[in-house]
Symmetry: C2
Subunit: 401 residues, 2 copies
């Protein structure tokens, strides 16, 4: 081993932290622990039999291409099918607006690589997705947090932040939002808020990054148009993924952007992993083509809706006074707020004794706030586990109070 | 679209170029062109029937885990099986020394992310693998090229470069070598040269990065011990991949390193793509477990050996005086040198008229040299195409002369 290993690390990697969620999850290896911590889809949503059929067909009909290198921008058929779906939701795009990435996390990595120099400002929600914050941090971005109300990122505070930067001659590289069933807050932006944010992006000449992994998982209420479709002038970059609506194990995501922007992502991806697995891309294309995607989505939504309702009822039944939570219309998460003086990290240790786990809220806050908050996942545990887990959590909260 | 898009790009992406190979390959879409350009394995080496069997088993036995998120460091069983193979070749390692990456290109990306700040020196061969150069360039590394002789990177010139840096108070972040059937040169380092380079790395306290995608594809001559196994003290990081010895379409590679170094790679990977597809990892593990890997490797080696011999004979038969080429003992490539005054880029245009393609040599040279060289692949074309393609290439060379 060389003598000065720690000293020769890059500035970027010196600032990186292991994912708090992944590290906490290691503590929850105990099979008796009911975990509301991860963001895992339910394995009951995985279409194993259909995949067996599809994989055999792909290998028979197209094996040589499926197992070979592929184009950096992704499998043409898969891109066409995705574009078709997005066009039906008001996206004014062609295949030149969409590239495949190795899961949405790679979209976040490429986004940062393409735009961020160390120290560059970006705007994120308070709270915001941890994987996004990690990607931004891994290139030394300087996140500016904007607080939420019950409609998501506050437009007035966003404007104040943009104006303040403008006065200093600064401009953020992008505004990062998760408009649907936000991770971790479980909040959905209504169209009015989306339009306010687009207007601000236009006024201050800033790109919006719309991260949208859960949009299709709506249980109730009205579908809200994507920021991309509301804008359609190239101000918005949209990130999508199959991880929550098909399977995470294929690691397939995509980026939708103006072709000039997308071109930079493609060049960056060439140096990063050359291409995403054509094998899993071709399987995914066939899954869409055969109509299995649409068919299974209905089942997954029904399953998650039921789980969410079981959880909501358990919260209503067991949570002590002073605890509040969001009531998401879709997605995988809700956000719980403890009384101001409480610390969810302290609660976490108590909860492990009661054999229930969650994610502490301050990791989602770039300014270190949110100590009295926590993220709760309702997609992975069974309904029985949900009821029992909420009981245990309520016990832990009462003990910590 | 925002007004100053080109201006807000990161310094890193401003310096990136589209892969010259990929761009040239687009010119070769004409199906009548015989391509010696790519680094593609032959589709005849893909074990399609065995994969059908394995995929069905994986989905039946382990579908829920295969389709779920996985550990960032990779599937435990796959890592165990790879470690077992490496231990048999003299690597003093455990599972804590090996992580899975999304193909070897991600290994190169993480390597650079972990060690390189913009402007940092690294040492590469003249010539060197283009994908490596792209990854290094994508973080602003400053490559110092060291010339080859018929044993690979020259140790005397490497020492001179290290000494010169030392005098200036500089130290390269790593020395990048491809010891077996080098891409593009087709040269293999004998053990004596490997030991000289290890001695220099120890003397100057520098990490060696050993990129080894082709080592198993030896047609003749004696296997040379890996630099990692010759060192075994943590000075060497080894990159491996299934792309040339199984299938590229799964995008599976790995990094072998001292656990303290590997830990930084794992943290960096979390922010890059969370994990590599557990689905293709579990298929790959079973492929190793069932002995199919070892069985098919023998067939692939026999096939490539024959193709290489057909190409060598065609070169001997058709190439004009003044042209020389390497005679690789394995791998996928040989390197051709034209008379000093010739430019392979000019030849490339003439070759396309004759309907044959290759990769111009100067893209492999970080100092812009190598204008009279070119890389020739012999794994992808059929034997008939190889003979015909070499004839066409010889015609183009004679015309350009």
């Amino acid at each position: 081993m060389i003598s000065d290993f720690q000293k020769i690390l890059s500035t970027n990697v010196k600032g990186m932290k292991r994912s708090a969620i992944r590290e906490l999850l290691k503590l929850t290896g105990d099979p008796e622990i009911i975990s509301f911590a991860g963001g895992l889809p339910s394995p009951d949503s995985f279409p194993i039999q259909q995949l067996k059929e599809i994989v055999n067909e792909v290998l028979d009909e197209d094996g040589a291409s499926a197992l070979q290198y592929g184009a950096t921008e992704g499998d043409t058929r898969l891109r066409e099918l995705l574009v078709e779906n997005y066009r039906a939701s008001g996206f004014d795009i062609t295949i030149d607006n969409l590239m495949i990435t190795t899961a949405s996390q790679q979209g976040l990595d490429l986004l940062t690589k393409v735009f961020v120099n160390r120290g560059d400002k970006i705007i994120v929600g308070l709270p915001s997705y941890l994987g996004g914050l990690s990607a931004f941090n891994s290139y030394g971005a300087d996140p500016v947090g904007v607080k939420f109300d019950d409609k998501g990122m506050r437009a007035d505070l966003l404007e104040a932040a943009l104006e303040e930067m403008k006065q200093k001659g600064e401009k953020p590289k992008f505004i990062y939002v998760i408009p649907d069933f936000q991770n971790p807050a479980g909040i959905t932006m209504p169209e009015s808020r989306r339009k306010e944010i687009i207007a601000l992006a236009r006024k201050y000449d800033v790109i919006i990054v719309e991260d949208s992994p859960y949009k299709e998982l709506r249980f109730e209420g009205e579908d809200q148009k994507s920021l991309y479709a509301l804008d359609n002038t190239g101000h918005v970059i949209t990130l999508g993924t199959f991880s929550k609506i098909f399977v995470p194990g294929f690691r397939i995501g995509w980026v939708i952007a103006h072709p000039d922007i997308l071109d930079k992502f493609i060049v960056a991806k060439q140096a990063t992993d050359l291409c995403t697995s054509p094998f899993v891309q071709k399987i995914s294309a066939k899954y869409l083509e055969k109509g299995y995607y649409a068919e299974n989505l209905v089942k997954t939504i029904a399953m998650y809706k039921e789980k969410k309702e079981v959880m909501m009822k358990a919260f209503d039944d067991f949570m002590p006074e002073g605890v509040t939570w969001t009531r998401p219309e879709g997605g995988l998460f809700l956000f719980l707020t403890l009384p101001e003086h409480m610390d969810s990290e302290e609660l976490f240790r108590e909860a492990l004794k009661e054999k229930v786990a969650f994610v502490i809220g301050h990791v989602f806050h770039c300014d270190g706030s949110g100590k009295n908050t926590m993220r709760i996942n309702f997609s992975y545990a069974t309904k029985d586990q949900i009821v029992e887990g909420v009981k245990r959590l309520a016990t832990a909260i009462k003990k910590t109070m």
